[in-house]
Symmetry: C2
Subunit: 181 residues, 2 copies
Amino acid sequence: MSQTRLSNTSRAILGILSTGPLSGYDIKAFADSSVRHFWAVSYGQLYPELKALAAAGLVAAEAQPRGFRRRTVYSLTETGRAALADWLAEPIAGGHELRDELLLKLFFSDPVSPSHLQTLLRQMRRRHEEAAADLTDQQEKLGPRAGALRQAVSRFGGEYHRFRADWCTRLLAEIQGEARR
Amino acid sequence: MSQTRLSNTSRAILGILSTGPLSGYDIKAFADSSVRHFWAVSYGQLYPELKALAAAGLVAAEAQPRGFRRRTVYSLTETGRAALADWLAEPIAGGHELRDELLLKLFFSDPVSPSHLQTLLRQMRRRHEEAAADLTDQQEKLGPRAGALRQAVSRFGGEYHRFRADWCTRLLAEIQGEARR
DNA sequence: GGTACCATGTAACTCGTTACATGATTGT
DNA sequence: ACAATCATGTAACGAGTTACATGGTACC
């Protein structure tokens, strides 16, 4: 009942556990194959958070060693499930802050040579294309049996990266036009 | 010459100062009216960073009080200008990490009632529309005399928020379809 | 015997926000 | 007088990453 404010990563953990008990390692694997594109989770945060969640009574820890390899499996408690539901019911808290190094850099890149900008933008485009492909894969793996919103979010990811890749293409075209003058 | 790694916020400061000397307060004002949509700057970071940049010799501080109100104006040094150029010349460092509370929430929202989802999505759409409008304003203020990339980045901001607003609309339609069944 | 994967953790660090504090100046 | 704005800062906190450390197990 100690109403310690949850971090979003904790909520992600609760969300992941809502489908069933998992070990820390498995939570990480799940996160890496699902939410990592918009909410990455690292071990360095995961394990301490799990302990904190257990201490707060939101998850229950059970030792389930495999052979001599220790292993702790976590499952949602009723309070944990309630905390997750509370969060989902809340309106979105703050403003969608965005930290985008590429945009920051581009904003100050007017004095930079067009050829270097081209390299930069092609590189970015490449990355977004890769991310988009990755998400399309993921979407297929999810399959049609996944929840509608999970699908929608995954689809959004793909569209988002494609959107940015396209923007790179358009900007490249502009720069070429400029360079020809 | 003490090659202390620069934070992106420091680079933003250098970028802002590249157009001319400014006080901390003015840097903040400039940032708020330009880069804040993709790189927000707070006083709590700004002033300490300015001191650090001055200590590292990347900016020069000059006391320019107005009456009895103290005021320090910072300007780029040659090393500072070089550091900025170095950064602009570098390829983009890491992968565009994204932290998006809305997507995280939606990903786990399949069990949530459609009516609540509608409220959530409408709220988000509203915010994106506001942000888009704000950026369109900014773009006009920038005018046609601003650098091509500054314009492009500002334009991207608008398109980005519009893109997300549209996505909300599409998702809302899907949810309604679902709810009617 | 080696490599890959399973499994768990910690310490140091970076970046950034929030909340507070202080005081001058300008305009109503 | 008061509010708004100019101007500068600091302390405490929060979230997250990185690098490291440790060891079991499975398979070739």
